[in-house]
Symmetry: C2
Subunit: 221 residues, 2 copies
């Protein structure tokens, strides 16, 4: 490669870091979504959720393939991110089907925002790849429809889900901060000295976009 990033680290280290995080994120989303599909009130909803899980696995396979092409071992690239993702899931077990759907929607949208923002720091090829994976997702719309339908059928859900949404995004952003600050390469690209301020700015932006989506659903963010 020969080029280097603002932080002075080789240009292929950061893409591998980001892709490792994304790959594990998708593999763990697959596990979570498919396990939660059991809560679905009908077989039709169960199949819809299963299909979204299958889409997450498809993303995992794409990202894992890209890591292999780059000469990286996908398992190695994922392992360092496993604790943060697993910790997030352990701390946020959905209580029922509706909480599962909102969790899936929030993971899907917040992580797409995160990947798009961080990929802006990377080479054009990686940036394009990340944008393709993040937007190939038809999951977002399917989940939004499930949520809208649930809220229309039972308006009392809104206050419980609004609370759950706040809890989830709080936990998610805590993990994003942890990942960004604990990994030296990601920390470096975030201008090191100002890393904390940069991460604060990034999480504020993610929270802002999330807030607008929740308001769009009629949930107080």
């Amino acid at each position: 490669m020969g080029t280097s990033t603002p932080g002075g680290i080789p240009a292929d280290v950061l893409p591998a870091e980001l892709l490792g995080a994304m790959a594990y994120g998708e593999l763990s989303a697959f596990g979570r979504l498919s396990a939660d599909s059991r809560f679905a009130p009908t077989l039709r909803d169960r199949a819809t959720f299963a299909k979204i899980a299958v889409g997450a696995f498809g993303n995992y396979a794409l990202i894992s393939g890209r890591l292999t092409e780059m000469g990286r071992d996908p398992e190695d690239a994922m392992l360092r991110f496993q604790p943060s993702f697993d910790h997030f899931h352990e701390r946020t077990p959905p209580g029922d089907w509706y909480e599962s759907v909102l969790k899936a929607y929030i993971i899907d949208t917040v992580s797409s925002d995160f990947y798009r923002t961080v990929s802006a720091f990377l080479d054009a090829g990686t940036q394009q790849f990340v944008r393709k994976v993040a937007s190939a997702d038809q999951a977002t719309e399917a989940l939004r429809i499930l949520l809208m339908r649930a809220l229309r059928d039972d308006p009392r859900l809104a206050s419980r889900l609004a609370l759950w949404g706040r809890r989830l995004v709080g936990e998610a952003l805590t993990q994003v901060q942890r990942v960004a600050l604990e990994h030296p390469d990601l920390r470096a690209v975030l201008h090191d000295g100002q890393a904390k301020a940069e991460v604060r700015r990034l999480t504020a932006e993610l929270a802002d976009h999330h807030g607008r989506r929740m308001t769009g659903l009629g949930l107080a963010a």
Copy 2:
């Protein structure tokens, strides 16, 4: 249509019954496999198992599409088979990764045998479709390799897995008998009066094929 089966019922009832059972079998296999992928000792094994789950979902989607083409509602076609499959899974929770792998292998192979045998009673189109779905499966070989590797790495596994295999096939065949005898249309195609004898013959055949596969793995069936 217009044709009828040996039992005198319309030729399109039985295919829908069989396809309904297959569709729910694949959807529930998806749920089971993806949930069990969490037990995997490495992320690589987890991804292998996840991929097999994704294959089961692909089969579900194919079968569900065929039911829709036939003018049947896939959810309706599946619902009557849900209790038997769910009951089987509730009675056989795997204790660890190796038990999950053997369970997946046994479900995959015994159900392929079952579908192939039963489809022989049906019209040529359905027969061809069922054979295609049952053999499109690359899962069988992937599971066999996981099992062979596990047994090579830890020969003490053999006796525990042999016991587990006997337990699983016993439960599976009990459910097959229940499904075949409780559903009037399936019962009819099995020549009604001799239904019990036919089902006994069918389960003996399934048990025999299963036994040979277990012996091939070095497990006493």
